[in-house]
Symmetry: C3
């Protein structure tokens, strides 16, 4: 009734989706501690991160962003990159994941929500470990690009070409 | 020591809980893109969604809500239906899940939190796929109904009968 | 190619990480309903919860906190303890998990974000069930303690000794 190869394939699917969800959840936890090594290690060496008008083209670029004065000031003031559950679609050694996230910044005795974002991830299994090969993020301010990311991500499709972010 | 039938049953439990959590996470991603087909497909044809004073009685009703002018205006302005992790209890081909969610709307250069909600889901496996048969949501504004949903959901029990939402 | 003992070990890893993530997600759902029994049951009898200047040293202390007038007033007014996805590292019968959380409180027709917190969990398998043996939480207001929790949690390490919370 149950065959060990079938079980192994189903287990592998769960492992992949679980490991990718954990990788994505790690991002916020790393950047909120200004942990540039931890955040950059989630990308492949040539992985990209396109977020509005900040276009990173490598793991080194992601490292530089988390190490930047702008980001470190945010962390010193108090910030929270809060990522929701990911919906993951795996096909062999490639995967697509989609999730929403909030960025909150300290404001008086509480926090204000600065950004609410759609995040589309393309991932690749490299030496047995998942890495982000391409992340595309757009703020949910009504712009069609954010909606296109949500639609393609839920369908398990790669990110569409987006123009400049609408304002 | 480990028997293949035992392994198959444990794997099935994880698959079910995982697939249900992904289904629930998909909801916010679909509605924030005004993707009415994607959102409605999460329900069974006769599935219901009771949220405060909006009482949907079918998949078609959910589709109509996401297609409504009210909802499309929210999406155009910029909104984020942010769902937290679900706690899922499966019994055969029926399941209960509970999670909290936020709805944020664009406000100036940031977002304000409009709603924080307790969401109770009853699900059924139909043709091998999980679908929502009943969703009941109440805002966390101190009303006993929201607390009753949280308590029954955590216990893996179906939703209690709720009166009109308290204000 | 696939050996049943290997499969059993991989399945066990997924079960552990899944069950721990569900346990942590349960916390917010319990406390938002002032469900003191449900919240306290997540801890071992001698488990601790150190959150800023509130230092609970047992399951009974956690129960007392959720039963307190302060907490019940928060629930009556309307509050949401919103926990993000956990990143979990298991080693045998011990585990470390890390997640961020928000606390929102009802404010007029909406909610304001009162706290955004780094939460570090140490867990132990007791009679076949995971329980929190130590939870350490610090607000993300720029204090080094919160960053140290995030770093040790992501590395799967126990929580560092923290001084008084910085303000």
């Amino acid at each position: 009734m149950t065959d060990i190869d079938d079980i192994a394939a189903r287990l592998r699917r769960l492992e992949d989706e679980h490991d990718i969800a954990q990788l994505i959840a790690s991002y916020g936890l790393a950047v909120d501690a200004a942990n540039a090594d931890g955040a950059a290690a989630l990308w492949s060496e040539d992985g990209s991160y396109d977020v509005e008008d900040w276009n990173m083209q490598s793991q080194a670029d992601v490292h530089a962003m988390v190490s930047s004065t702008f980001h470190r000031d945010l962390v010193s003031k108090g910030c929270c990159h809060f990522i929701g559950p990911s919906v993951v679609t795996v096909g062999g050694d490639e995967a697509v994941a989609i999730s929403e996230s909030l960025v909150l910044v300290r404001d008086g005795a509480g926090y204000r929500v600065w950004r609410a974002t759609a995040n589309h991830f393309e991932l690749r299994r490299i030496d047995g470990r998942w890495r982000i090969s391409r992340r595309t993020s757009r703020v949910l301010d009504g712009q069609p690009g954010a909606h296109a990311l949500l639609r393609s991500g839920l369908a398990g499709a790669v990110a569409p070409a987006l123009g400049e972010a609408a304002t």
